[in-house]
């Protein structure tokens, strides 16, 4: 039995190395001094950070990515939370359909979602713009917020609401002072995850962005072209990694803390 245990331990260590090594490598390459992407790197340098920052294309792409991610997170937080409240609180016609439709974009490959949206915009004569990206991203961002909010709502005991009602609060007051504080951290946590997802999304973005470049689209293009922009790609990739990991880390903290409720 101990032999199996050791073998399993080694296996786990190998898998962890396999999982984390490429991420460490990205960080190392961002500080690579050389223009050529070879291993081992020739020396440490931060010069590519300032080069990347001075690159107008990268700046524009970063700006568009941030705008799209913030807007779609906002839209998704409102709609996702609203859908979660509705599905949780009321029994209405089509309730099951909503909970199914909200989940659908997760199961569908991005290319299908992207094409559906693309043909929808083309057929409707809508020009691809920042807003089409936002709509595209909102489709999967809503799911994240919805899932987080509904999970929190389901964990909340109904006795809290009943207590509030017993103390004479009307529906709005109960919502404002009981439900909202309970759910708010879950919605924020979901929103942060949605931001991270939106910020590094490529596939749906490609189909809804047209000629515009978000940061991931710029990276994709630059990798394919190769050549001298590659050191700047390393930096841009690191930026994307940080801008997705940081919100996720905060989100995990928030989700663990259950707001005003402690789970017994």
């Amino acid at each position: 039995m101990t032999r199996t245990r050791v073998a399993l331990g080694i296996w786990v260590a190998l898998v962890i190395a396999f999982l984390l090594f490429p991420i460490v490598l990205i960080i190392v390459y961002a500080f690579n001094e050389a223009t050529v992407q070879s291993w081992p790197i020739s020396g440490f340098s931060t010069k590519w950070f300032s080069r990347a920052w001075d690159n107008q294309e990268i700046r524009d792409a970063l700006g568009l990515s941030l705008k799209a991610a913030l807007l779609s997170t906002g839209v998704a937080s409102l709609l996702g939370a609203a859908a979660a409240f509705a599905v949780h609180r009321f029994r209405f016609f089509g309730r099951e359909v909503i909970s199914f439709i909200v989940i659908l974009p997760i199961a569908l490959p991005g290319i299908i979602t992207g094409m559906a949206l693309n043909s929808f915009f083309t057929a409707g004569g809508i020009d691809l713009s920042l807003w089409t990206i936002v709509i595209g991203h909102a489709t999967f961002c809503i799911v994240i917020v919805y899932n987080n909010a509904i999970a929190r709502l389901r964990r909340t005991q109904t006795s809290l609401l009943e207590a509030s009602m017993d103390l004479g609060a009307d529906g709005w007051q109960s919502f404002r002072y009981v439900t909202l504080p309970v759910v708010s951290t879950a919605v924020v946590a979901g929103g942060l995850l949605a931001f991270a997802l939106s910020f590094d999304e490529v596939i749906v973005t490609y189909f809804t962005a047209g000629a515009q470049n978000t940061l991931p689209l710029w990276i994709l293009g630059a990798i394919r072209h190769g050549g001298e922009t590659l050191p700047q790609v390393n930096v841009a990739v690191l930026v994307v990694v940080l801008l997705t990991l940081i919100p996720v880390a905060i989100s995990v903290r928030l989700a663990r803390d259950t707001g005003v409720l402690r789970r017994s």
């Binding site: 039995m1 199996t4 399993l8 331990g9 296996w11 786990v12 898998v15 962890i16 396999f18 999982l19 984390l20 090594f21 490429p22 991420i23 490598l25 990205i26 390459y29 050529v36 992407q37 070879s38 291993w39 081992p40 709609l79 439709i101 659908l104 974009p105 199961a107 569908l108 490959p109 991005g110 290319i111 299908i112 979602t113 094409m115 559906a116 949206l117 693309n118 043909s119 929808f120 083309t122 057929a123 709509i135 909102a138 489709t139 991270a196 590094d200 490529v202 596939i203 490609y206 991931p216 990276i219 994709l220 990798i223 394919r224 990739v237 690191l238 994307v240 990694v241 997705t244 990991l245």
Partner: protein, 253 residues
């Protein structure tokens, strides 16, 4: 919400419309062209290989995580699995491009070990490795969840009945984690099936269904053909999901 729903509904009438007004032309073109058949076959085959690889890698890992690791180690392992999941997909593929490159880490390491270079960059092998890497967390998590739910008493009972480790694994653990495995495989399979970024970056010109769709929407502007071709992964996924449902994977999601 209305937009969101209609965005999804447009696809079905849309492909439906193609079938009516284009009279299966796109579909016959797909079935008669050996190139398109080969691409579809390659996509499905690699998706299956990736799913299998992820399952084999994830099973012992999830077992260790759920059954042997201390709570603290388990949290650490969780983080180690979740971090790659949240690191930008593009970044991870790019990193593998650097690793597998001719003068990358892999060949450098092989050189140090006095082994010959491998030219796996830009090949089917590269796609297999990269896909297995990027979707592995999606397999580990549901398998872990299923593994954790097995009551200790089942394993003890199996031991009491005289089953050795391997026998317990095969006859008790495996059937019980099957729903988790199938749930994970839905992700690994469907995500590989719909991808076009990895083939583009490391596939060395070996196309996936997604690349053809991408090309037809972007460059050629032949959206009806792209839609027709995109129905292949859709149909494959539909069949797969039906089987998965039979195996009880939806409860494990």
């Amino acid at each position: 919400m209305a937009l969101f729903i209609s965005a999804f509904w447009t696809l079905d009438p849309f492909t439906g419309k193609i079938v009516h007004s284009w009279t299966f032309d796109n579909f016959t073109q797909i079935f008669e062209s050996s190139t398109y058949r080969a691409i579809a076959f390659r996509t499905v085959a690699i998706a299956a290989a990736v799913t299998l690889t992820c399952a084999v890698v994830a099973l012992p890992f999830a077992y260790f995580m759920a059954r042997l690791a201390s709570p603290r180690l388990r949290t650490l392992l969780f983080v180690a699995v979740l971090v790659p999941l949240w690191v930008s997909y593009l970044a991870r593929v790019y990193s593998w491009k650097l690793i597998l490159a001719q003068d990358g880490v892999l060949n450098w390491t092989l050189g140090k070990l006095a082994l010959p270079d491998v030219g796996v960059a830009y090949s089917t092998w590269a796609m297999w490795i990269v896909f297995s890497y990027v979707w592995l967390p999606f397999m580990i998590l549901p398998v872990y969840a299923a593994m954790e739910r097995i009551p200790d008493s089942y394993l003890e009972a199996s031991g009491d009945l005289g089953a050795r480790g391997f026998r317990t694994m095969r006859s008790v653990v495996l059937p019980l984690v099957l729903p988790g495995l199938v749930a994970g495989s839905i992700f690994t399979f469907s995500l590989t099936l719909g991808d076009f970024i990895t083939p583009q970056l490391v596939g060395g010109g070996k196309q996936f269904i997604g690349n053809v769709v991408y090309g037809n929407v972007g460059v050629a502007g032949n959206v009806p053909f792209a839609a027709a071709y995109a129905t292949i992964p859709l149909v494959v996924m539909a069949i797969y999901l039906t089987i998965a449902r039979r195996l009880g994977a939806f409860e494990a999601l």
